[in-house]
């Protein structure tokens, strides 16, 4: 089984759900982030995810630890993809297991919101007429 905090070229939703599903948990909430084929009215051809892996793994672990402290959850798994990705492909999968659904939903939202703010991973969008690092400039 892969680590609960994991970064790789290819990630897999089924792996994550299988790993987190156990009979003692009553709720599993899963967030699946995929590559969107458009942004601000422009067609997106592909994305490139660059990653500062050792620090990204640490920051993802901090999110998991904080989620466990703040919410009544049992387990959390965060997998993020790197490299070249095409529309429809997976970018991130986050799964949270809890005894009850409310904590699972809340922890999952906290995890993806925080990941987008703190984890050193960068997305470059490729259009038909050029490319841009997302969020770099005002």
């Amino acid at each position: 089984m892969k680590a609960s905090i994991y970064i790789a070229e290819t990630i897999n939703t089924t792996d994550v759900i299988t790993a987190i599903s156990k009979p003692e948990y009553g709720a599993v909430d899963v967030f699946i982030g995929t590559v969107r084929n458009h942004t601000q009215g422009k067609k997106v051809i592909k994305l490139f995810f660059e990653c500062y892996e050792p620090m990204a793994l640490l920051e993802m672990q901090k999110i998991a630890d904080e989620a466990k402290e703040r919410f009544a959850i049992q387990e959390i798994i965060i997998h993020h993809a790197t490299g070249e990705k095409y529309p429809g492909e997976l970018a991130v999968v986050i799964a949270v297991a809890a005894h009850r659904r409310k904590a699972a939903f809340e922890a999952c939202e906290f995890a993806i919101d925080t990941l987008k703010q703190t984890v050193p991973i960068w997305k470059k969008e490729f259009f038909e007429d050029g490319s841009v690092w997302v969020a770099a400039h005002p």
């Binding site: 982030g33 995810f49 660059e50 990653c51 500062y52 050792p54 620090m55 990204a56 640490l58 993020h80 970018a91 991130v92 993806i112 990941l115 987008k116 703010q117 703190t118 984890v119 050193p120 991973i121 960068w122 997305k123 470059k124 690092w133 997302v134 969020a135 770099a136 400039h137 005002p138």
Partner: protein, 79 residues
């Protein structure tokens, strides 16, 4: 003494290459930041520029050692 700075995302395009050698030593993160802004003014136009020391986000008054792993962290956009 020099620091080797790891570059990511748009900072690679601005500085050119995946690492930057400072050429001399800096005592604090803030001094390093001012040095980089002087040579590469485009860095100041970014939405934000964090500096990581040994895989942790650093403050400008944090002190630098020659053995530190230093990285430029432009605005992140994972997920």
């Amino acid at each position: 003494m020099s620091h080797t700075i790891l570059l990511f995302g748009i900072t690679k395009d601005i500085i050119g290459g995946s690492v930057h050698e400072t050429g001399n030593a800096f005592t604090t993160v803030g001094e390093l930041r001012r040095h980089l802004y002087n040579i590469y003014p485009q860095l100041e136009k970014l939405n934000s520029l964090m500096i990581a020391v040994n895989n942790n986000y650093a403050n400008d008054d944090d002190r630098l050692q020659s053995s530190d792993e230093i990285a430029l962290i432009p605005p992140v956009s994972g997920g």
